[in-house]
């Protein structure tokens, strides 16, 4: 069967209905040239991602955070705002530091709640704990280690606190976590901890309240957990058994 390039493009972008998808997949299995055309569309997407994703890990200019926190300018105030914008720009021209959490705290205690829905959502700024991959955001470093090894509500002095462990509706194991500056939950998928929900910058600077208990998670994260959870949270014994199986379903 023949397909137009536009149809194969739509297929590669996940924009065709189930019937057409099955037809194309059947044709791909029979005709490698069709599969090749689809692969070409997909690799262009990957190339573009590679070319532009770098900015996601760059420090956020203070002037953009200032702009988001500013009171909307009325039209009458445009002139003074241009000056303000210029001043902000000059500040931003000074040596930039990595987004610091105390700065976040100053903006507003609970300003940033991001729920990750698929691979295109919020990109976390703490790159030593998170990695952006083709499949979405995954935990790395200390966070990944804690999710794999730590039992819930155990290590009081650890940098990463693990709270609840539960299964999602697909049967995968998920665990809530909190660090001094971020909280959320991640699920075990294909040997990685995929971050499903994340709230950054909301933790109390002094108290580190997210470390205390599962219930100290931000409400938006708790809602996301409730929505994902199938059945009850695991108890200690079930948690240990799941860990012994390396969190495989």
């Amino acid at each position: 069967m023949q397909f137009s390039d536009e149809t194969l493009m739509a297929y590669a972008d996940g924009e065709v209905d189930a019937d057409l998808r099955r037809q194309i997949e059947a044709a791909m299995a029979l005709d490698p040239s069709i599969a090749e055309r689809v692969a070409k569309h997909r690799s262009l997407r990957a190339d573009l991602g590679a070319a532009f994703n770098g900015v996601l890990d760059e420090p956020m200019p203070a002037r953009l955070l200032d702009a988001a926190a500013a009171t909307p300018a009325s039209k009458a105030a445009t002139v003074t705002d241009l000056n303000a914008a210029r001043a902000a720009k000059q500040r931003a021209g000074q040596p930039k530091s990595r987004w610091s959490w105390p700065e976040w705290g100053a903006i507003a205690a609970s300003l940033v709640i991001g729920i990750l829905a698929g691979r295109t959502a919020l990109q976390p700024s703490q790159s030593d704990l998170f990695a952006s991959t083709e499949a979405g955001i995954v935990a790395r470093g200390e966070l990944s280690a804690a999710l794999t090894d730590q039992l819930g509500n155990a290590a009081k002095d650890a940098d990463v606190h693990i709270g609840l462990t539960f299964r999602d509706k697909g049967g995968q194991y998920c665990r809530t976590f909190a660090t001094a500056s971020a909280a959320g939950f991640a699920c075990r998928e294909a040997n990685a901890w995929k971050v499903r929900a994340l709230s950054e910058g909301a933790a109390d600077q002094q108290g580190g309240e997210y470390r205390m208990a599962g219930t100290a998670l931000p409400p938006a994260i708790l809602t996301a957990v409730e929505d994902s959870m199938a059945g009850e949270a695991l108890d200690r014994e079930q948690e240990q058994a799941a860990r012994a199986r390396d969190w495989k379903k």
């Binding site: 390039d5 536009e6 493009m9 739509a10 972008d13 924009e15 070409k40 569309h41 262009l44 997407r45 190339d47 573009l48 991602g49 590679a50 070319a51 532009f52 994703n53 900015v55 996601l56 760059e58 956020m60 200019p61 002037r63 953009l64 955070l65 702009a67 988001a68 926190a69 500013a70 009171t71 909307p72 300018a73 705002d81 914008a85 902000a88 903006i107 300003l111 940033v112 709640i113 991001g114 698929g118 691979r119 295109t120 919020l122 990109q123 700024s125 409400p219 938006a220």
Partner: protein, 168 residues
């Protein structure tokens, strides 16, 4: 956080939260369409100001990113027009993209993708940036660009073809 904006303050607060969560992606979209890092952040800043000013126009039932990218697209078109009036050419930015002779093959690839992207006509570049870089659905991208889906897909197809040709 309440789901339904009870009043103006709530919806302004919601718009702010969405903006901050979306900031890294706004910057990425800016880079993809302006060809230049400084222009990109200027564009993001202007768009944030516009979004806050018009926060009441956002309808929570439609995706926030479509609305926000739409504001950026309009701001970019305004800027492009103003520059044409001032007689400034919108030449693809070459400076700053040069990483020298030691660039790895992967870096070279990355640069040629950026250059190819910069060479596209605005309307194709916007479609490619929204769908292939920002991951919007055709419907969302068409909404952001205020065009019918058929127009979006034909721009996307032409943009893709041009990119693939250049990158072969």
């Amino acid at each position: 956080m309440s789901e339904t904006p009870a009043n103006t303050t709530t919806s302004l607060q919601q718009v702010r939260q969405h903006i901050v969560a979306l900031l890294p992606r706004l910057r990425r979209f800016g880079r993809a369409i302006t060809r230049n890092a400084a222009d990109a952040d200027d564009l993001v800043q202007i768009s944030i100001e516009r979004a806050l000013l018009r926060h009441e126009q956002w309808r929570p039932e439609s995706p926030f990113h479509s609305w926000m990218f739409g504001i950026m697209r309009n701001a970019w078109i305004d800027e492009a027009r103003a520059r044409t009036r001032r007689g400034q050419m919108l030449a693809p930015e070459e400076a700053g993209l040069d990483v020298g002779d030691n660039a790895s093959e992967a870096q070279q690839r990355l640069l040629s993708v950026q250059k190819a992207m910069a060479s596209l006509p605005d309307e194709q570049r916007l479609a490619v940036a929204l769908v292939l870089i920002e991951g919007l659905s055709y419907k969302e991208a068409a909404e952001a660009l205020e065009v019918p889906i058929g127009t979006l897909t034909s721009r996307l197809a032409r943009g893709r073809e041009a990119l693939q040709k250049q990158l072969e």
